[in-house]
């Protein structure tokens, strides 16, 4: 991240950030900023909405209108923002727990409505902030603070889930693949409808340590090797869906246009 970007988009007095050394959240945030910078979004009309978690602290660092909401509810707050002022470019920053456990219901319904939100999930497969308990995306058998003998539950595939719930832009990348991740986010901004980008990101402190994954560079290497654009034996990255469908606030606006002025 170059100095110019920090000057342009960050609340410098809020830095340094709270994230641990080796955490991937900063890279994911930088990719969002790069994507914003190279997009044609009206920079005066960007709203960052986040939930609660390490990842969700990101909203406080960016110099836009921003709401750090309650745990799991970022998409619901964002729905109110977007409906109240459809000119806003709404970016939701959320964690895997925030987005798919406590906030799972809001996620699928926002997908179904196809409301024009851009959701970037920082998926570190763990509840980082509360000390490393298993989340809906923790791989089976992984060790966490609440599954010391290995997680028994199966995991969600955030992209599959969102796609089948009706999201119109669905993509995955990793913080290792910085350029690719930035492109995925740019794609989300271009879609007028519900867009979700799953950014795989390491949590060396709460996940890496317990699962003996080594130091942060090792974990990064492992992350790089675990994914592929083409090899179906690996976790796939890329754009899984990009379709144009009627967007919720535009559809609602048609109703308002037909009815406005008829109040008595």
């Amino acid at each position: 991240m170059n100095r110019e970007m920090i000057e342009k988009y960050f609340r410098k007095e809020q830095l340094p950030h709270i994230w641990c050394p080796g955490c991937g959240n900063g890279i994911a945030l930088a990719a969002i900023v790069d994507a914003i910078d190279s997009s044609d979004l009206d920079k005066e009309k960007i709203c960052i909405v986040s939930g609660i978690g390490c990842s969700s602290r990101a909203s406080g660092y960016l110099n836009f209108d921003s709401i750090h909401t309650t745990h799991g509810r970022a998409i619901a707050f964002a729905t109110g923002v977007k409906m109240a002022n459809p000119e806003m470019n709404v970016i939701v920053i959320t964690g895997d727990g925030d987005c798919t456990a406590i906030g799972g219901n809001h996620l699928i319904h926002a997908c179904r409505r196809n409301i024009d939100l851009n959701v970037i999930v920082f998926n570190n497969n763990i509840y980082g902030m509360t000390g490393g308990q298993y989340s809906p995306t923790t791989p089976k058998s992984a060790k966490t603070a609440t599954s010391r003998h290995g997680t028994v539950e199966r995991q969600f595939d955030i992209c599959d889930l969102s796609r089948s719930a009706g999201a119109t832009y669905v993509a995955r990348s990793t913080v290792y693949h910085y350029r690719h991740l930035t492109d995925m986010i740019k794609g989300a901004f271009k879609n007028k409808g519900f867009s979700i980008v799953e950014a795989l990101t390491p949590c060396p402190v709460q996940y890496g340590r317990r699962n003996k994954l080594g130091n942060p560079p090792d974990i990064m290497k492992e992350l790089k090797e675990s994914v592929s654009l083409t090899d179906s034996s690996k976790i796939k990255i890329g754009v899984f869906k990009n379709e144009s469908e009627p967007e919720y606030t535009s559809e609602y606006h048609k109703l308002v246009e037909a009815e406005v002025g008829k109040y008595e």
Binding site: I67, H109, V256, E259, V260, G261
Partner: protein, 374 residues
Amino acid sequence: MSKRLLMQGNTACVEGALRAGMRFFAGYPITPSTEIAELLSIKLPKVNGKFIQMEDEISSMAAIIGASLCGLKSMTATSGPGFSLKQENIGYAAMTEVPCVIVNVMRGGPSTGLPTCVSQSDVMQSRWGTHGDHPIIVIAPVTVKDIYYMTIKAFNYAEAFRVPVVLLLDEVIAHMRECVELDEEIQIVNRKRPATKESYLPYRNEDDGVPHMADFGMGYKYHVTGLVHNEKGYPTSNPDITEKLITRLHKKIEDKASEIVLFDALNITNGGDLLISYGSSARVCKEIIFNEKVRGIGLFIPYTLWPFPEEQLIKLIKDNNIRRIFVAELNTGQLLLEIRRIVGNTCRVIGINKYNGELFTPEDITKKIEEAIE
């Protein structure tokens, strides 16, 4: 100029809200509040407003906060179980000082309870439902006409003090039809917006303790968080800042309590007794007072349950040498606790309670009073 209309309580709430300038509603259906959502789904688009049926009450509460930050006066409506679900985000609105109105049409509880029956058992929840020390304003109307005017008041208070306001309706008043006279001249209050972007501090302590609020999307680019925050809106755990913030949140309401409180005192007699009641129960009490079913008793109706017209009640008791107080409510004794706290041991406070899903009859109340007098 005024217009007389026969309307249902829930309709009066809708009309009052629209008159106050409400332009965003998010809700989830639940008896006995559903008419409010249904009507607003029809009426809001007609005034260039927005209605959305969310996936639950948690998201409804979240959405109205988001919309209010964009400058729209916002409301949600629900009943007991849904009111419970809204609580975390009601606390968020209190902490972040986002104006909004929450209508809770009370039904019998706990749990799913008595969905279609009258009850006044959410009084304490309306005050203390969310965690943490926080300010809130709670208004309990008695008639359909009250609902219309007090819904407008609720928005005025929410805007003036940047606080969530709970409109606590009784099921029977929400569903009752009465004549309402709609005045043309009504005072509408709007939140104070900053005059300039220069040196804007979203949580600055202004003279009245209420910071000026910029609309999102106007280039102010400020941060809102439920964490303890400084004047810039940024998180902090500094003990001084924490204490100042929590104190200001309370004081902005407490200092203005005498302007906020709404109450009626009827038929007060020197050396007599006093009935205290609100909502549908107050209607039954009025009947007792006006038909002199019991002699020497007056009626005190608090419309704002919080802040409670505390000083006004204490003065009334002192000035009139009130001997005994009866608190009539459809629960096991919730406002009773508050009245006991306020009057201390200056006079006896006796609860008259009913919680079987039915309204009081005048006899329910007069019998209790007579028993106590004997």
